[in-house]
Amino acid sequence: MAMPQRLPILLFALVMAAIPFVPGMPPFWIVLLDNIGLSALVAMGLVLLTGVGGLTSFGQAAFCGFGAYTTAVLTTTYGLSPWLTLPLSLLVSGIAAVVLGLVTVRLSGHYLPLGTIAWGIGLFYLFSKLEFLGRNDGISGIPPLSIGSFRMIDPGTIYFAIWIAVLIAALLTMNLLDSRTGRAIRALRRGHIAAEAFGVHAPRAKLLVFIYAAVLAGLSGWLYAHFVRAANPTPFGAQAGIEYLFVAVVGGAGYVWGGVLGAAIVVILKEVLQSYLPLIFGGSGQLETIVFGILLVTLLQLAPTGVWPWLMARLPFTPIRKRPDMSLTLPARPRAAAIPSVLLQIDHARKQFGGVIAVNDVSFDVQAREIVALIGPNGAGKSTTFNLITGVLTASSGRISVLGKAINNAPPQEIVKLGISRTFQHVKLVPDMTVLENVAIGAHLRGQSGAISSMFRLDRADEARLLAEAARQIERVGLSEQINQLAGSLSLGQQRIVEIARALCVDPILLLLDEPAAGLRHMEKQQLASLLRQLRDGGMSVLLVEHDMGFVMDLADRIVVLDFGTKIAEGTPGAIKTNPDVIKAYLGAVA
């Protein structure tokens, strides 16, 4: 059954709005729902940060603390209105996130979660020791939220404030994910090299999600302070931070609604355990933490992706995916008026890793409208040469210039702006994004919309043009059938073709292809060869690394041969076939 995207959310909102008016609804349930909403807000930030962006944080509770303490101090000591402190609470959380984020998001691998544990605990102790935050006792007597004379004192009224916040946050988060910026964020989890090759500024994107998650946590903290009308350090400690991550993982860390579902499961479970376990096992001890911990480990063993995707797979709904309107066009990338004959010039490029010389003073060039093949045995330095050209690695010495201008070890984000795009030897697509979304990352630099405009859906015209361009390139490489499939479900050969479509979205002058024909069947190779010829005849140059000699000899205008990092030959396919050095490198010396 197909369903419009927004209908379930509308239904959900109506149900949530109706709940407090159900006659006989126990007030205690409303309190639970309030707690679920507060926890869901933080978890939603974590979904974006951890599940989507791949940055694990145990420190979100500290950002709730920033939100709660800001409003606590400003409303009690300075008598400000709670509504005035809302933007200030968010601002303080955001600024704290910028400071911590600048340090944290640069951490790689497991240093990141450990770092967040460390500052999470540090901030907790800071909250509990500072005089103006009331030390361990905290601050009490925080005024309730009020609109005119309507004061939200009881749980049933602040309920609306909390759940309106949850719904708005969910909508904004979903809008953000379904946009140019969102694709960049979603690409981060699979490593930054592919995203950066298409102009995504990875540290900036990471900082963005970090701040976004912190602001959501700050919002939750602000609501919390006006809900319990007090703030003390306990709910902002390490334990709470761990619990928020738990909520996100239980629900499904990759899904916005997983955060809400996880909050519901965890809050209700805790309540049930706290009230029923002592009845079964007698009163002693923190039995619920034991059961809680054991359940967590069990869940990870049985359903490591969380409950939400498990649930969705069992519901008979399929989201409608609109086909992009192919009549829209993106303006072509600005080009130099007269393209000189030499597009890419490599002059004595050298790359050393410690004592190993991977690329040894290699020189060659690529002309306009030319297909050049880079061949050589395994370990000859072909992929390293690619990485030098695209800025993934910095050359130890030598000069690489594009259109006569030296690139001086510019980072990948700058190289792609020159009109050089690439594919990877080991496919770097985001497997849980569709082919269309993956390819659209290639057009990242040709869109302008930022995070804020996409959250509020002001990016739709820009977005439609990007997707139309992506769809056109997918059609060009012959994968229109698969446009809405998940990239991870395609065969390896097709994934390589998707990478080519993504590279074409840059509107490049030079295409670098790293083993494009590997994993393709004979017919597919012929189609690929004719596509590349067609691109060349359209004015593009291609530099490719390839092991399939039949494919290379048939296609290339010129061949450069590397062996042990050194160029041993260069020439037309005919000349290379008979070159004694090349034969020696591939087949060994003739005795």
């Binding site: 544990i117 460390a118 490593g191 001890g285």
Partner: protein, 341 residues
Amino acid sequence: MLFLVQDGITNGAIYALLGLALVLVFAVTRVILIPQGEFVTYGALTYASLSAGQFPGTARLALAMGIVAFGFDIYVGRKALHRRLVGRALIVNIALPAIVFALTYVLVGHPSGIAVNIALSLVIVAMIGLFLYRIAFQPIAHTSVLVLLIASVGCHLAMQGFGLLFFGAEGQRGPALSNAAFTLGPLRFTGQSIAVYVITVAFIVGLWLFFGFTLTGKALRATAVNRLGARLVGIRTTLAGQLAFLMAALIGAVSGILIVPITTLYYDTGFLIGLKGFVAAIIGGLVSYPLTAVAALVVGIVEAFSSFYASDFKEVIVFTLILPVLVLRSLAQPAVEEEKD
């Protein structure tokens, strides 16, 4: 001044032991062992309970976990249940904890020597460590560091809850290993602090020898670098993981027994002590044993000084210490593409 340094070194030595255990477990299994602190508490309080003539609940936990682990072993091996597999599972998972349980049961009530109590505590906690890996981590050993980390948090929660259940909310102290003491210049050394130094150094040297010069140690390191590769050359990676956890639990219990005569331990004290070992382990990059030991001493000394001069901000200072280190570590090894999932 000097007594602060001495105090710092004594604490630092304990952090060093815990840091070493964390490095060991992470290097072999990629698990960031949050429950390391619980091993400390369990070791210390089991020892204190035994000394006070009480039956420790940890012996019961070990027996229960053994039975669950036995179930896991049999279930996984159900397709090919040959006699050797069942035999090993029976001996390790059922017979061993049962014997220890019975022994503890018999010995409680009789005044027995310190050595017997220590030995019993160590065996009990070591078994818990072994079974913990078998039950919680072995089934998900192939998953990402993040999933392992969250499972590790779950274990910490459960074990801390059990700690409260077994030992109650009141703190306990245990008898000292020796009451000898001597004075050197302005400093007073107790037999206990000397034991801390000696045992820490012994463990560091022992681990260094074990990993550098024995085949088993090298096999453990190989497992850490590449699980699949290690399996292909015939290393039993599950055994490596169990061994690492067993050693970590043992080290945790030893540190617990070393400090319980000096400070009062509560059921949840271990977590914070473990985290400080963590700070040291991270400074050591989770790979280097000597660096971890040095870092732990620094952590201990910083803690001693800040608790003297700015006691309110002691924890803030210790945990903030980690951030500049993490940044330096990340800058030192950038541009590594992480292949995840």
